[in-house]
């Protein structure tokens, strides 16, 4: 009895495998899977056998993605769309969606977005990265929002042969070959080496301060930026009285601010953190003995309508470094009109245009290196990297983008704004 059951079970198993193999032909498959992803080998071996007349031969070093007739080209996003920094990520995701809408079909194929969440944390980047590289039909990634998530994700996607363009990672480490850089990583956001230096110059040259403190929250973005600021500030002859940190999610900043006051008190505090922690720091700084007259300044993580509300009256007159958003081009005007039309709101953060450009870079490269073979489309993964590497004079909303060998593609223009009556007024340079 049990033997017969076993036999039936075995037959069912075989039948299911045959069926799966037939199904494999219809699913888009990698023709030459790379070593790092052995799991994809099974359907890939069967696929050419089923689709015998495939004439195309993939010569790409790390493999090709094939989209058969009527299959959409798939791209992924890994932006922060949950938790306290949702504003930042949703804003970028809308930029990606609008880029897809503007672009329409690419080489006769529709474009589909697989939206993942980077969680604005290393764990989130790890999870999103693993999920994306397990899908062999994805050709490129727009992400991550946060540098903290970008570090693990860059490694994962690079090993699996993908490309990733970040709209808002600004940590210097990510494009530093000695640190967290990996092949296939690009960004349309500025490198914070530029931003931190600009802020230090502004503090010394324009505000004329000689002592400062820097506070970060342990995220690679905030820590990197605070560090670059502190180094440049000292190089320009200033004194950093305290370089310290808070935690993400902290609300009571009085102890750390008291420590800053005890160390100086400094003439200026720079805290390139996010809205929630930044709001608490701003309000509580005004209440700590010794810091009543200290100039407060922050960075692009706190340039948003929500940040204006968070800092409230305490933020009046505060300085913010960030990318120059006074994009004077027709594309941006059209973008903003479409944004309001589709979502009914204005952009909620800084990096929507960077995300728009990032998506266009990826789709542009698909268009450039994609091989049309009848109704099918083949895109080489190394070809995508070569194409993005060669990006030069790309006209985007954020300027004319040219990628260097480590994936820094931005056309960085940093400006310092002052918060006046609830508006960010650009005042320098």
């Amino acid at each position: 009895m049990s033997k017969r059951l076993l036999a039936i079970f075995a037959m069912l198993l075989v039948a299911s495998m045959v069926l799966a193999a037939c199904g494999g032909g219809a699913a888009p498959a990698e023709e030459a899977p790379m070593e790092e992803a052995p799991a994809e080998e099974a359907p890939a071996e069967e696929a050419p056998a089923e689709e015998a007349p495939a004439m195309f031969e993939c010569t790409d070093e790390i493999g090709c993605v094939t989209y058969y007739a009527d299959e959409p080209i798939r791209i992924a996003s890994a932006l922060v769309v949950s938790g306290p920094n949702t504003d930042l990520g949703m804003d970028s995701q809308r930029g990606v969606e609008l880029a897809m809408e503007f672009k329409g079909d690419v080489l006769g194929h529709a474009v589909e977005l697989q939206a993942e969440d980077d969680g604005c944390s290393a764990e989130g980047g790890q999870a999103a990265g693993q999920k994306i590289v397990s899908d062999p039909t994805i050709i490129g990634i727009i992400g991550t929002s946060c540098s903290g998530a970008g570090v693990p994700m860059s490694k994962i996607m690079s090993d699996a042969g993908y490309v990733m363009v970040s709209p808002s990672n600004t940590s210097p480490a990510l494009t530093d070959a000695d640190s967290a850089w990996n092949p296939g990583y690009y960004r349309t956001a500025h490198n914070d080496k530029v931003q931190g230096k600009a802020m230090a110059e502004f503090a010394i040259d324009v505000l004329g301060v000689t002592s400062a403190a820097a506070i970060h929250d342990g995220d690679p973005y905030t820590e990197g930026l605070a560090r670059v600021f502190a180094d440049n500030f000292e190089a320009l002859g200033g004194t950093i009285v305290e370089f310290t940190a808070v935690n993400k999610g902290d609300t009571d900043m009085r102890p750390v601010l008291t420590a800053v006051a005890a160390a100086g008190p400094p003439e200026l505090i720079y805290y390139p953190v996010f809205t929630a922690e930044g709001g608490f720091l701003t309000k509580q700084a005004k209440e700590v003995a010794g810091l009543e007259e200290t100039i407060l300044s922050a960075a692009d993580g706190m340039i948003s309508p929500a940040a204006v509300e968070a800092v409230g009256e305490a933020g009046e007159g505060m300085y913010f470094s960030g990318p120059d958003l006074g994009f004077e081009n027709e594309l941006y005007t059209t973008f903003l009109e479409k944004h309001t039309e589709v979502y009914g709101i204005d952009p909620t953060s800084v990096f929507h245009s960077h995300a728009f450009d990032a998506a266009n870079m990826i789709l542009g490269c698909v268009e450039e290196v994609g091989v049309v073979d009848g109704e099918d489309l083949h895109v080489g993964r190394q070809a995508m990297r070569d194409c993005l590497d060669a990006t030069s004079g790309f006209d985007g909303i954020t300027g004319t983008l040219t990628c260097n060998e480590y994936g820094d593609c931005a056309d960085p223009q940093i400006t310092v704004s002052q918060l006046t009556a609830g508006e960010y007024e650009p005042i320098w340079p």
Binding site: S82, G83, P84, T86, D87, M90, D217, G218, F243, T244, A245, V246, N247, G249, D250, T251, D252, R254, P255, V256, T258, A259, A261, A262, A263, T275, A276, G279, F280, K283, E287, V288, A289, S304, P305, A306, A307, E309, A310, G312, E313, T348
Partner: protein
């Protein structure tokens, strides 16, 4: 048998080394900090007062954990969300419009009272809804089931309110009357912190009186003691449980208002960390005990605030304030090694433990 003795000895040794290491490094850090003395007396008192205010908030939230645990033996991880839901709603529908029209500055007492009442109503409503829908059907289930359900409920409410009110940080209006500092016995304290401390003392005293002295309070304690016997004595146990959630959620609601007054910034995620910290405070003080929750909250708040500067600064740790949670949880471990039942906790009977 012999091996077993060996194992216990080894474990005991490790624990002993661990304790000693913590205590020695704490003492060493403290002495080094005090020798160097980077802070003025003023800075110390400011830090301690900030710690007491923060600890008061933890205490009020911890009450909810402790009460529910006392009666149902479950950790209600959705409690942080009760705290968040009330003040979010009241800020958006009451505080912000009231402030925009200038009413809040003209009649601050009435204004804050209305905000507090609305906050408590919403918190209590959400708490009872959660209890009725998510917890009551699981009353007889194994202990782990309601625990996981509570975590699920916590996420549900977080993202429910995110969907409802948006994900941005929202400002709680500044009220003119409570801006600035008052001088109490030569120490300048922020008015908002004074309010937090006084209100917390009043609420905790009131709650203690209610639970210990009134008949309704007695029914809660009876249900906590033994539900079956309580039922036999004619006590409506479901009502006692509802009451427990109501009390806990009102305290969380008040904590929400105080949080808003001190920090003036709210957010759909704001319940998460205070919730975890308050849970820690409840365990630290001895879960199930009301004075324990209060003491645990204060203890945690003060150590978090003073600890980094006092213990770590002297040891030369960079960015000590980033490690305040490490200090808080190390204190938890240290207390639990010496007193597994928490500071004021009674040794639990087999059934409860």
């Amino acid at each position: 048998m012999q091996e077993r003795i060996k194992q216990i000895d080894f474990l005991g040794l490790v624990l002993w080394i661990f304790r000693t290491a913590i205590i020695v490094s704490m003492l060493w850090g403290t002495i080094a900090t005090l020798m160097d003395n980077p802070y003025s007396a003023r800075a110390w008192t400011d830090t301690i007062v900030a710690g007491i205010a923060q600890g008061s908030l933890y205490a009020l939230i911890a009450i909810g954990y402790t009460l529910v645990y006392g009666v149902l033996f479950m950790i209600n991880f959705a409690h942080g969300e009760f705290f968040m839901s009330g003040i979010m709603t009241a800020t958006i529908f009451i505080a912000q419009p009231m402030s925009a029209s200038g009413y809040l500055d003209r009649h601050p007492v009435i204004g804050i009272t209305v905000i507090a009442v609305v906050t408590m109503l919403v918190s209590v409503g959400i708490a009872n809804l959660t209890e009725r829908i998510a917890y009551r059907p699981l009353r007889g289930a194994p202990r782990l089931v309601p625990l996981i359900t509570a975590i699920g409920a916590s996420f549900f409410w977080q993202y429910f309110f995110q969907g409802l009110y948006g994900s941005e940080v929202k400002a709680f209006p500044q009220i003119e009357v409570i801006v600035g500092k008052v001088n109490i016995a030569g120490i300048e304290i922020l008015k908002s912190q004074v309010i937090v401390i006084i209100v917390t003392i009043l609420m905790l005293a009131g709650l203690y009186f209610f639970v210990v002295k009134t008949k309704t309070g007695k029914s809660i304690r009876a249900a906590a003691e033994n539900k079956d016997v309580a039922r036999l004595m004619g006590i409506d146990v479901d009502r006692a449980i509802t009451l427990t959630f109501t009390l806990g959620a009102s305290m969380a609601g008040i904590a929400g208002v105080l949080y808003a007054l001190v920090f003036r910034q709210i957010h759909f995620f704001m319940g998460f960390f205070p919730g975890i910290k308050a849970f820690t405070a409840a365990v630290l003080g001895g879960i199930g005990s009301i004075p324990g929750a209060a003491l645990g909250g204060l203890f945690l708040g003060i150590f978090e605030s003073v600890g980094p500067g006092l213990f770590l600064e002297g040891l030369g740790v960079p960015s000590p304030h980033q490690l305040k949670d490490v200090i808080a949880f190390t204190m938890l471990v240290l207390v639990l090694i010496f007193r597994p039942q928490g500071i004021l906790g009674e040794a639990l009977a087999e059934e409860k433990a």
